[in-house]
């Protein structure tokens, strides 16, 4: 899919976001920081879907907000077609933002209940009037409704008159209004019923082909991410643990966290029950305000050694696998990376 242009449309370099933890009401002093995103780098190519998976609190949504400019990074760069958007302001920033849009998780609260569907979908035109001349806007909104499979006659209805799946379509229509190149999707289907999720996923795939969109698809459902993604990144406690093509990650994971995560996903096949290898992790994810030294995963990792506490593993093709060939050779932030197949075929 992304073979034609290997020039990344978005490049994230050493992105860091620390939220200060303060004490005191009158005289606030900083007593620490929540290291929500702590040195993350990745690329997104044109027309591709990069899936990001990880458990709650691992920093997935913070990455989305940073890319959307809803949060300022503590450090690091976000390059859009080679230009660092964290340094932009005013008109230049506005021009870039037109091209990066977002679809949110919760179709119940992300739409203003007092606005009609037409106003909601057309709202981006108020901020970017150059995108559609005033007279054309209603027609444009009708067209968008049609594109996402909703009846254009619904233009004057209110959000509460729609089901969850329909509201998510409204959110997608709004995301498409400005003809963006990139759409950041933060858990776009997780609030929807199983029978409706498939409808929305199909819609998103169709729109991607039609408009050559790039998706950053954040979700915790590993099977949906696998279905839609060309590449997948696995996050743990503010860092990227492993990244690669869907096949590299799902069939040839080399990072212990990825292996545990994949093995924990319930497989909808009762016959696989007895054949499955289950890695049950102990304990909970540590607090991002006080993450472990060295490898972030070491407090729950069964392979941890002294080196893991002393030395932070970098996200790169692991030394031990440098001479390997095929899909096991991909970036994995582990000193002792090795292949282990955990999902029954």
């Amino acid at each position: 899919m992304a073979e034609t242009a290997r020039e990344p449309i978005l490049e994230v370099r050493h992105l860091v976001k620390h939220f200060p933890l303060t004490r005191g009401v009158l005289f606030k002093r900083q007593v620490g920081a929540v290291k929500a995103v702590d040195d993350i780098s990745f690329e997104l190519f044109r027309g591709e879907t990069l899936g990001i998976v990880g458990e709650s609190g691992c920093g997935k949504s913070t990455v989305a907000k940073l890319l959307m400019n809803l949060e300022q990074p503590t450090s690091g760069e976000i390059l859009y077609k080679g230009e660092d958007i964290t340094k932009l302001s005013g008109r230049a920033l506005k021009a870039v933002r037109r091209n990066i849009q977002m679809v949110f998780q919760d179709p119940y609260t992300s739409l203003n209940p007092r606005m009609t569907v037409g106003d909601i979908i057309g709202e981006p035109f108020e901020i970017h009037p150059e995108a559609a001349p005033k007279g054309d806007r209603r027609a444009k909104v009708r067209e968008l409704l049609d594109v996402v499979g909703l009846n254009p006659e619904y233009i004057n209805r209110y959000p509460h008159q729609f089901s969850g799946g329909q509201r998510q379509r409204i959110g997608i229509a709004r995301g498409l209004a400005l003809n963006p190149e990139i759409i950041i999707c933060d858990e776009p289907v997780s609030a929807l019923d199983v029978s409706v999720q498939a409808q929305v996923i199909n819609l998103m795939e169709r729109l991607q082909d039609e408009f050559e969109l790039s998706y950053l698809f954040i979700a915790h459902d590993l099977s949906i991410v696998r279905h839609i993604s060309d590449r997948v990144g696995v996050m743990y406690l503010g860092r990227m643990a492993e990244i690669g093509t869907d096949r590299e990650i799902y069939e040839h994971p080399t990072h212990p966290y990825t292996q545990a995560l994949l093995s924990a996903v319930p497989v909808p096949d009762p016959e696989a029950r007895d054949r499955r290898e289950r890695i049950i992790l102990h304990g909970d994810v540590p607090s991002p305000a006080n993450p472990p030294s060295g490898c972030r995963f070491r407090t729950r990792c069964w392979k941890a050694e002294q080196r893991c506490a002393d030395e932070t593993p970098l996200l790169a093709v692991p030394e031990v696998l440098r001479d390997a060939e095929g899909p096991v050779r991909h970036p994995s932030a582990c000193h002792f990376a090795e292949e282990r197949t955990v999902v029954p075929a």
Partner: protein, 376 residues
């Protein structure tokens, strides 16, 4: 090494009764005799049986028929999964069993809820309360809102023993510590006086499980017990629940919308749609060959490897409004097999027959065309 990769093998459902056999192997490998084998009279009576349950809610749009003739049963030592989408009536059924329905606006409009053969709906208030408070326990999706935020976890656990068992304060506290250890809360003795918000989500859910287990009930109803948890924590909690269930030989009703969780832990499954059970079967048989178009659609819409890059199968349309249920079969507006008959005649839960026309134990489908669905 801290990973435990073994998984106790699930017992084969007993072909004739659809329940697990009387002899089973515990997780430690020791053979244990099923309690119900000692009391043969109990064997034919399910632990819990819901018969033709009807629950209605008065709403501004009219009467919502949230539960519309539900039938299911669960035996001791068995896990029954109740699967359905949001609003299908899974939780309302559970609330009716537990006697915690919101009344008004809700009320039970008909049916029976039999516990060891006795109908909870007609039993005297005292007896009913004794069973519900003592023999049946419930675990909710959201532990934080079901635990009292201003009381310590130890107090809340201990309260079960003080109120129901007349334990002294000291005893109650000791039992609370024991329970916390049972559900593997690290440093239980030091943490017994902590408040719910001081525990992580996974630990709170384990505390809820401890609370449900406190009086060693015969039946646990778990309503989406892991939906709010991360997958690696969900795996811990489900494993714990399954292990304790085996150990205490409890019946477990697991309410979920996750086909993966069902495949992982349940013996039997009841699929709900628009307030009714549309299909029920031993888990392996249902996944291998569903006999209802709705179940079939759900299974087909799961993303699978060989579907990559292709459209996912999607059930068309939306679940119906409960105040205006479609005529005949409630699924007909979304069903690819729907016929004229489907729109006029409501299908009962037909027994599903095998190739030699003999009924398959524990299998039923509420579809006129279950045969075509099963074989098509």
């Amino acid at each position: 090494m801290s990973d435990r990769t073994e998984r106790p093998t699930a017992d084969e459902p007993n072909a004739t009764t659809g329940t697990t056999g009387p002899v089973e192997t515990t997780s430690s490998g020791a053979v244990r005799i099923d309690k119900s084998a000692e009391a043969p009279a109990d064997r034919d009576t399910p632990l819990l049986e819901v018969r033709d349950l009807q629950v209605e809610f008065r709403t501004r749009e009219g009467v919502a028929r949230a539960v519309n003739g539900v039938n299911y049963s669960v035996n001791a030592g068995e896990t029954l999964a109740v699967l359905g989408e949001s609003g299908s009536g899974k939780s309302v059924t559970a609330q009716a069993i537990m006697g915690i329905l919101d009344t008004p606006p809700g009320h039970i409009a008909g049916g029976e809820i039999r516990f060891r053969g006795e109908d909870l709906l007609t039993l005297s208030e005292d007896k009913r309360r004794a069973i519900r408070g003592d023999r049946i326990a419930m675990i909710f999706q959201d532990a934080l809102s079901s635990l009292n935020p201003v009381l310590s976890v130890g107090y809340q656990l201990g309260e079960m023993f003080r109120v129901h068992r007349g334990a002294s304060r000291r005893e109650a506290r000791e039992r609370a510590v024991d329970l916390m250890e049972r559900v593997r809360i690290p440093a239980a003795r030091e943490r017994v006086n902590d408040y719910p918000h001081q525990f992580s989500g996974g630990m709170r859910q384990r505390i809820m499980i401890a609370m449900a287990l406190a009086l060693e009930p015969d039946l646990i109803i778990a309503d989406e017990p892991t939906t709010a948890l991360d997958v690696t924590v969900q795996a811990q909690v489900m494993e714990l629940l399954a292990e304790l269930q085996r150990e205490f030989h409890m019946g477990l009703i697991l309410i979920t919308h996750d086909l993966g969780v069902v495949a992982d832990v349940a013996d039997r499954i009841a699929v709900m749609y628009a307030g009714r059970i549309v299909e029920t079967a031993p888990v392996k048989e249902l996944y291998a060959a569903p006999a209802h178009p709705y179940t079939k659609g759900l299974l087909e819409s799961i993303p699978r490897l060989d579907h990559k890059g292709k459209e996912l199968y999607a059930i068309q349309g939306l679940p119906p409004s409960l105040t205006a249920l479609p005529s005949g079969c409630s699924f007909h507006p979304r069903c690819p097999l729907s016929t004229e008959r489907s729109t006029t005649e409501r299908p009962p839960l037909h027994p599903v027959l095998d190739a030699s026309e003999a009924p398959v134990a524990g299998r039923g489908s509420a579809c006129h065309y279950w045969k075509e669905t099963l074989h098509g």
